[in-house]
Assembly symmetry: C2
Homo-oligomer: 243 residues x 2
């Protein structure tokens, strides 16, 4: 079976003090409820683990009741760093789970087709991640504020979530990161430690993370667009979207 | 004297056919009028050259009249590629111009302080560009869809505009690009051809380019924020903003 882990244990300081960005409203619904909805509606996902900050369990129980999420879910408490939170999520998976999609709670726009494709690719290859080509002009500095060279952006990808894995592979990767004492800011970086190849799954719509206050209005517009274009069953429209 | 060249000759196909993104309205005012306004209000800029598509001259004359831009300006027609358009802009500069700030017309949010700092840095060092640190997690592929490595993003910068130069340096750089037959997508890349160092000037607010339809709502929010925070004379507030 395939599970999703929604990582909702971060602090997100760029929004300002005392603002929990996951509970800011987007078109009248909290950020994290949008994200949860995406996975609740994904046919290929059978259970959802929410990793939350200690003391927030009740808020998530309220969300589940209010939005009538249909899929089995469990709420677990996160750890000190992101990788500790993911670890706790992995510990809470059903024993029969063999594929896991790990998602930032602050990414409410992830396309159904991208969720499905990362799951398919993880099944085939072991690991996959949602990604988009870098479109900015990128320069490398020597560490200071002088340009050293223009970087060939045709090989650069901004990676997002879901990051999706065969369960034994992500367990082994994160265990290796712990063993080496390496801090990994994303889960595919842990795969690099054990030489596990990771497939890039190209999303065709923006999949931003709520980070700064001005992101809210932008993401509201994106969500209005996908609400019309993104019915729960995405298969029917996958072809037209790839045009 | 210091001049600005606003490059408004591009086609911008990502908005859809028959949409001129520079004339889309942001809070009731065309994109390019916001950009023009930024430079019209910059104390350190003495003239403005607009490089436009053939046949669009009248539209720009209308804008100047409607928004009562105060600074001397000239409208010239662009060339085939971006670098040809910049070249035409350079040809139109006043003979006494020694510093030129080259700006994408589709970037309506550029901070006054960033304009000033690139001009100051170009005066001191020859060349400078508005830039922001890359915040996405970046992976490099081997050309296909497999991750090859995680890139150390601490040395990566997304460069924007203005790109600001001593006039003789950008002339020499673009002449070298022509001589070598190299297509440069940004003007600082031409400087690399003659070994000219370029200073990165770090902007503290988003400075996006209007590219896709969903950018409009986001940029409207940004502009509402800066309209309050960004009076024409920026000197008084530069210190607080750097906090």
């Amino acid at each position: 079976m395939t599970s999703a882990i929604i990582v909702a244990a971060g602090k997100g300081t760029r929004m300002g003090p005392n603002v929990d960005k996951l509970f800011l409203e987007l078109n009248g619904k909290p950020v994290v409820a949008h994200t949860w909805q995406r996975f609740d509606a994904a046919d290929c996902v059978q259970e959802i683990i929410l990793v939350v900050r200690d003391g927030m369990e009740k808020e998530f129980a309220k969300l589940a009741a209010k939005y009538k999420f249909a899929k089995p879910h469990r709420v677990v408490v996160g750890g000190k760093e992101r990788q500790d939170s993911v670890w706790n999520g992995l510990e809470a998976l059903s024993p029969t789970c063999d594929i896991v999609a790990i998602q930032d709670a602050a990414r409410p726009c992830t396309e159904q087709a991208v969720i499905e494709e990362t799951i398919q690719a993880a099944r085939e290859m072991g690991a996959a991640v949602a990604a988009q080509p870098v479109t900015d002009t990128i320069k490398e500095s020597g560490g200071g504020l002088l340009i050293e060279r223009t970087v060939d952006r045709s090989r650069l990808w901004a990676v997002q979530t879901p990051q999706t894995f065969r369960v034994e592979i992500i367990r082994r990767s994160l265990a290796e990161a712990r063993r080496q004492g390496v801090a990994v800011t994303d889960d595919t970086a842990a795969c690099e430690l054990i030489g596990q190849p990771v497939k890039l799954v190209v999303g065709h719509k923006p999949n931003p993370k709520v980070t700064r206050p001005e992101d809210i209005a932008y993401i509201e517009v994106l969500l209005k667009g996908t609400a019309k274009a993104n019915p729960p069953s995405s298969k029917a429209r996958r072809r037209p979207r790839r045009k």
